[in-house]
């Protein structure tokens, strides 16, 4: 399928630049390796979801696992997102560590009752007696006319109510490290991956390392403005920063990594230095992640801000199918550049 081979310009995050010559793996391989090693190490970990054992292997991330671990640990399921989420949660509170995989975040809308009314509230309602070590993976679709029900990036719906953790890896390094952290976390964690990043290579250590949930990453340092980005928008931000550099504008680019909880300190520190903030998120605008960051930073950095905070998000309409409209729909590095230029004197 043509739409399975999108391409995106990639970059190497500052933090891992030294190791950039070391072990390289794609985002896809990083996930596959993380899953394999988690399963090998901890008998309470298992994988479930529609087609997780098939020949596509969730875009290649679960390929071959069923041969190694068998059908009892790589469990193909019926199509019943709400009930199966409850079943996964039931297993989690009885001592297992399920990884429930959805091909698209869009399908999570069916399971929000079990996710938000149950999994997210269970620890609190039970006074901490019953933790829910449940990991949900889903992969943001985009392009090739996937349209309104197969292209959504719904992190904001998962972050509004208290209780879930949500992470969005932008690099191969994070794809594995956040997966490991999520599976070891005693709380329900949703990992939103991005399909367009799957072929991106990057430094990926062989061991089962964790990227801490709740911490952002400084991808590039700069003093003129801060760009906080999520998922694929991190790459657009890095590209924008490269172009801006040519005009002697040094943007500081932060990869949020963890959407909830999020690293306020990191963003505050950066904005106190630069005085300017752009937030570029893959989701929608109204009450989105960008709104939260904007509202919070506007309060915390009141004295430092030299210009209004700008949000770059999907426009206020569902995702259209036509290629001509998709092209207009998704913001990219050019929008970031334009917005940055508007903020600077």
């Amino acid at each position: 399928m043509p739409w399975t081979t999108p391409s995106i310009k990639t970059f190497t995050p500052v933090a891992t630049a030294n190791e950039a010559t070391h072990r390289q793996r794609t985002y896809r391989e990083a996930i596959a390796e993380g899953l394999h090693d988690l399963l090998a190490k901890d008998p309470s970990v298992f994988i479930m979801g529609e087609g997780v054992d098939d020949a596509s292997g969730v875009f290649g991330t679960t390929l071959g696992l069923v041969d190694t671990f068998g059908k009892d640990r790589i469990v193909d399921t019926p199509i019943a997102e709400n009930g199966i989420t409850g079943i996964a949660m039931g297993a989690a509170i009885k001592g297992m560590r399920p990884i429930f995989i959805h091909m698209r975040p869009d399908f999570l809308l069916i399971s929000l009752d079990q996710l938000l009314n149950h999994a997210a509230k269970w620890s609190y309602m039970s006074n901490g007696q019953v933790p829910v070590p449940l990991t949900i993976r889903c992969i943001i679709g985009r392009g090739w006319g996937s349209a309104a029900q197969h292209s959504q990036s719904i992190q904001a719906l998962l972050t509004h109510l208290p209780g879930l953790k949500v992470v969005m890896p932008a690099t191969a390094y994070d794809a594995k490290g956040l997966l490991v952290a999520a599976v070891r976390d005693n709380n329900p964690v949703v990992i939103m991956e991005h399909r367009w990043l799957y072929d991106n290579p990057g430094y990926v250590p062989a061991e089962l390392y964790e990227v801490p949930i709740g911490k952002a990453l400084v991808c590039k340092k700069g003093q003129h403005l801060t760009i906080v980005a999520t998922s694929m928008m991190v790459h657009e931000a890095m590209r924008a920063a490269e172009e801006l550099k040519k005009a002697n504008i040094e943007a500081e680019v932060l990869d949020m990594r963890s959407i909830k909880p999020w690293d306020k300190e990191c963003v505050v520190t950066s904005v106190k230095k630069t005085g300017r903030l752009i937030i570029a998120d893959t989701g929608h605008r109204y009450g989105g992640v960008a709104a939260e960051v904007a509202a919070e930073i506007a309060e915390r950095c009141w004295d430092s801000l030299k210009a209004p905070i700008r949000r770059i998000t999907m426009p206020e309409c569902p995702v259209p199918a036509a290629a001509s409209l998709e092209e207009l729909y998704y913001p990219n590095y050019k929008d970031i550049i334009r917005t940055a230029q508007g903020l600077l004197p």
């Binding site: 019926p78 009930g83 409850g86 039931g90 297993a91 509170i93 009885k94 309602m125 039970s126 006074n127």
Partner: protein, 324 residues
């Protein structure tokens, strides 16, 4: 006393505890100190008692908004439960759950959902975990007739049948969901138990006010589950005596017809077993009196305890949103 008589006596004790517990709630509720919406199960005690009599503390149950009976039958301490109703720190959920969300992992209550149909898949998942862990444990999903209309019911039965999971689905069909009668919600030509056939699972419809029948049928289901023969759906017909929520008679408020309630009051499950025990000479009326008195004393003590216990404070508000 032979074993059957012993069991009958234990079932009676459990049912009586549940009945008197609920009556105690009714007695104290008007004080307006128990600030929690109570969904009383008077009239339905036999199901909780008959099913839970087969369970170990490591077996799990998942209940609903109408959970008091299930929790007591599963062994939840009356002090912890009442303290929860009074919103106290020593309540089984630290006062955060109220009457709708009791939790006590030490006796197999891994939290309670008051979302109709919400607990059913949790029971399937917990039972599945047990079998993955190679343990010989079962899980019970208690739910009402209304819950059998939710998609989670269908999804749970399909999965449990598919994977041969040791879970028992216990539907307490009391003919109403709030004040909405069964006939407004499901076709009358079929029962809830009938739906089990669609999943290749045994479905049994029983008199939910006959605790010995409940005990027997639940026992068969447990045996099947523990022997790896998979899930069972039990539909137990019963009736709730009090309003959907709160300690009132809702036939007086026009929510349900009074004659219907009157007929069901005559089928009181507690009375029925008591009569049997007396007739068979398993207990005499003195012993019965004494039992009631003992339970009442315990309940009074628990009420006092709950009233005097400390309420959660500001330091408690934000903790445990995330587990450590």
């Amino acid at each position: 006393m032979n074993i059957d008589d012993q069991i009958a006596l234990q079932l009676f004790q459990k049912m009586l505890l549940i009945r008197l517990f609920e009556e105690k709630v009714i007695a104290y509720y008007p004080e307006q100190e128990m600030k929690t919406p109570v969904h009383l199960c008077i009239g339905q005690e036999a199901i909780a008692a008959g099913v839970c009599a087969h369970l170990q503390p490591t077996d799990t149950i998942f209940s609903t908004h109408r959970n008091h009976g299930h929790c007591l039958a599963k062994g939840l301490d009356i002090k912890k439960l009442l303290a929860e109703f009074y919103g106290k720190k020593t309540g089984c959920s630290g006062g955060r759950g109220g009457s709708m969300h009791p939790a006590d992992p030490t006796c197999g209550i891994l939290g309670t959902s008051a979302i109709v149909g919400g607990g059913i898949p949790l029971a399937v998942g917990a039972a599945w975990a047990s079998s993955m862990q190679g343990k010989n444990e079962v899980s019970v999903a208690f739910f009402g007739d209304g819950a059998s209309e939710e998609g989670t019911f269908h999804e749970s039965l399909n999965f449990a049948a598919l994977k041969n999971i040791p879970v028992i689905f216990v539907c307490e069909n009391n003919s109403y969901a709030t004040a909405s009668p069964f006939a407004s919600r499901q076709p009358l030509t079929v029962s809830i138990a009938d739906k089990a056939n669609g999943y290749g699972m045994p479905g049994v419809r029983i008199d939910g006010n006959d605790v010995l029948e409940v005990y027997r049928v639940a026992g068969e289901a447990m045996t099947r589950a523990r022997q790896g023969q998979g899930p069972t759906l039990i539909e137990a017909e019963t009736f709730r005596w009090m309003a959907h929520v709160g300690p009132v008679d809702d036939t007086k408020t026009g929510h349900r017809p009074a004659p219907e309630l009157a007929a069901w009051r005559n089928k009181c499950p507690v009375q029925r077993l008591q009569q049997l025990l007396l007739n068979k000479g398993i207990i005499n009326s003195n012993q019965e009196e004494k039992l009631r008195h003992e339970i009442d004393t315990d309940l009074e003590a628990a009420i006092s305890y709950a009233k005097q216990a400390a309420a959660p404070t500001k330091e408690d508000l934000l903790n445990h949103v995330y587990a450590d």
